[in-house]
C-alpha cells in the first residue's frame, strides 16, 4: 500500500513528561513550536531556532535533541521529556537545587536547556569529569554566566545524586 502523504493538521500521539498527549500539528511545525504554542509548555526556549544554542533542548526517546530541529509530526509515538518534567512530585530535581545554590543563572533564558542537557548527561554518566561536563554542554550557549557556575552546579548535583553531597 502506498504511503499516505500527510498535510494540513495531522493528529499526533506522543508521551510528554510521562503523560499520553495528543495534539494536532502541521508538518511544517517544529516540536518546539508545538510544545510552546499548542501545549503551553513554555519552558523550552527559542534562542537561535537553528540548532546552535540548546535553549530548546528536550530528551526524546532517551536522547538529547534540539526541539527546534525536530518536526512535531516526527514525535509520533515518541517519549519526550521537557524541563517541565524534570522536577519530581516532592520538589526540585537536584540539578535545579544546585543551580539555585550556585547562582548558576542570570537572565535564565538558557537555563531550561542546560538543565535538560545536564539531566540527559547524568542519566548516562552519573560521575562525569569537569571536562566531560564542559564537552557535553558545549551545545548550550549562555551569554551571562561565563559557564563556570553552571559547570560547578552540575558537578555538585552529580555528587549529591551519587550520595556524596
Amino acid at each position: 500500500m502506498a504511503t499516505e502523504i500527510l498535510s494540513g493538521k495531522v493528529h499526533v500521539n506522543t508521551t510528554i513528561n510521562g503523560e499520553s498527549t495528543d495534539f494536532l500539528a502541521e508538518p511544517r511545525e517544529s516540536l518546539l513550536e508545538v510544545l510552546r504554542e499548542t501545549l503551553g509548555l513554555t519552558g523550552a526556549k527559542e534562542g537561535c531556532n537553528d540548532g546552535n544554542c540548546g535553549a530548546c533542548n528536550v530528551i526524546m526517546d532517551g536522547r538529547l535533541v534540539n526541539s527546534c530541529c525536530v518536526l512535531a509530526v516526527e514525535a509520533s509515538g515518541a517519549d519526550v521529556t521537557t524541563i517541565e518534567g524534570i522536577a519530581g512530585p516532592s520538589g526540585l530535581h537536584p540539578l535545579q537545587e544546585k543551580f539555585l545554590e550556585h547562582a548558576a543563572l542570570q537572565c535564565g533564558v538558557c537555563t531550561p536547556g542546560f538543565l535538560v542537557s545536564a539531566k540527559a548527561m547524568l542519566d548516562e554518566n552519573p560521575d562525569p569529569t569537569e571536562d566531560e561536563v564542559r564537552w557535553w554542554l558545549a551545545g548550550n550557549l549562555c551569554r551571562c554566566t561565563g559557564y563556570d557556575k553552571i559547570v560547578r552546579a552540575v558537578l555538585d548535583a552529580a555528587a549529591s545524586m551519587r550520595g556524596e553531597g
Binding site: A2, T3, E4, I5, L6, S7, V10, E26, P27, R28, S30, N49, D50, G51, N52, G54, N57, M60, R63, L64, V65, N66, C68, C69, V70, L71, V73, E74, S76, S117, A120, M121, W135, W136, L137, A138, G139, N140
Partner: protein, 295 residues
C-alpha cells in the same frame, strides 16, 4: 516555512515512489539538523519531507559476516560511537561523529545525511573516503553503488537524481594492522565548522606502510580524496619523513577559498599540518595505541 507535507514510508520502494512523484520538491529527512533549518531559512524549496527513519534498511548498523559494516543512511552519530564493533574498526569515522555539532545534534544527525548535505566541510565525509566506503543508492531505475569520493559534485550538490535516495553505506573490513584518524581545525574550541579537516587510514606491516588513504575537507568545492598522497606512502617506513611527503601532496591538492573561517594561505598550511597529524594518529592506532578524538 511554506505549506509542507510529510510522509513516513516503511520501505525503500515506497520512498522512491514518493520521490519520483514529487521530484525536486521532496527530500529525505533523516536527523533534520540541516534540512529543517534550511527549509525554515528558505534555502531549500522542499515541500514534502520523506522521513527516512521508519525504513529498516536506512536504520541498520551492523558488522557483516565478511567483516564489512553496513551503515544505514539515517543512523544517528550517537549510535555510531555507541557501537563497540564500529568503534574498533572505523576510528576515523567515530572521531568525526564525536565532534560534529553538539551532543543534541549528535542525537539526531546522521552520517548519511551529512554526506547527502554534501557540504565541503562535512566532517564525516573524509573519514568515509579513507575507510573506502561505498554508497548504496536506490531510485526509480533500480539500485547502484558508488565510491563515496565520487558522491559529492559541488557545494551542496551530489550525484543523486530527484528520484534517488541514499540507502546505506558499506565500509569494507580494514586489513589487519590498520588504523585511522580524523581531525579538524576550527576557530573555536568546539561546536564549529571545519576550517580544514583531514582524515587518514593506513595499514602497516611492521614499520612499513602497505596501504594508505588520505582525504581533506573544506579546501575545495567537495571533500577531496588525495589518492597520490596515500600512494606516496606505500613501501615507506612510517615516520615523519614519509608524512611530510604525503602532507606536501595534500597541500598542493588543496584549492581553498578565503572566508570567515580562514584564508587561502592558512587553509593550505592546515592541509599540510592536519595531514601530518592525521597520519601520526592513524599510525599510532595501527600500533594499538590510544589516540583521542581531537578535543
Amino acid at each position: 516555512m511554506h505549506a509542507i507535507s510529510y510522509a513516513a514510508p516503511t520501505t525503500v520502494a515506497d520512498a522512491v515512489s514518493i520521490l519520483a512523484e514529487h521530484g525536486a520538491n521532496a527530500r529525505m529527512l533523516a536527523g533534520g539538523t540541516d534540512l529543517i533549518v534550511q527549509v525554515r531559512e528558505k534555502l531549500r524549496d522542499t515541500t514534502v519531507f520523506v522521513d527516512a527513519k521508519h525504513i529498516p534498511d536506512l536504520m541498520q548498523l551492523s558488522v557483516n559476516a565478511d567483516g564489512s559494516a553496513t551503515l544505514g543512511a539515517a543512523v544517528a552519530c550517537h549510535q555510531i560511537y555507541g557501537d563497540d564493533a564500529i568503534v574498533a574498526q572505523y576510528p576515523a569515522l567515530v572521531d568525526a561523529c564525536r565532534i560534529i555539532g553538539s551532543t543534541g545534534i549528535q542525537g539526531r544527525a546522521s552520517v548519511g545525511g551529512n554526506l547527502c548535505n554534501s557540504g565541503p566541510a562535512g566532517d564525516t565525509i573524509p573519514p568515509l573516503i579513507v575507510h573506502g566506503a561505498v554508497a548504496n543508492i536506490a531510485g526509480a531505475n533500480g539500485e547502484r553503488t558508488l565510491a563515496v569520493e565520487d558522491f559529492c559534485t559541488g557545494p551542496s550538490r551530489n550525484v543523486l537524481g530527484d528520484d534517488e535516495l541514499l540507502v546505506s553505506l558499506t565500509l569494507p573490513k580494514p586489513a589487519d594492522g590498520s588504523g585511522s584518524h580524523y581531525l579538524r581545525f576550527i576557530p573555536r574550541n568546539e561546536m564549529d565548522i571545519a576550517e580544514v579537516g583531514a582524515g587518514a587510514a593506513v595499514t602497516l606491516d611492521g614499520d612499513t606502510i602497505t596501504a594508505a588513504r588520505i582525504s581533506i575537507g573544506a579546501v575545495a568545492p567537495t571533500p577531496l580524496f588525495v589518492a597520490e598522497a596515500g600512494e606516496a606512502l606505500i613501501g615507506q617506513t612510517a615516520g615523519e619523513a614519509a608524512y611530510d611527503v604525503a602532507a606536501n601532496i595534500a597541500r598542493e591538492a588543496a584549492s581553498p577559498i578565503n572566508d570567515m573561517r580562514g584564508t587561502i594561505a592558512h587553509r593550505k598550511h592546515l592541509s599540510f599540518v592536519l595531514t601530518q597529524r592525521a597520519l601520526r594518529g592513524a599510525v599510532a592506532r595501527a600500533r594499538g595505541m590510544e589516540v583521542g578524538h581531537g578535543h
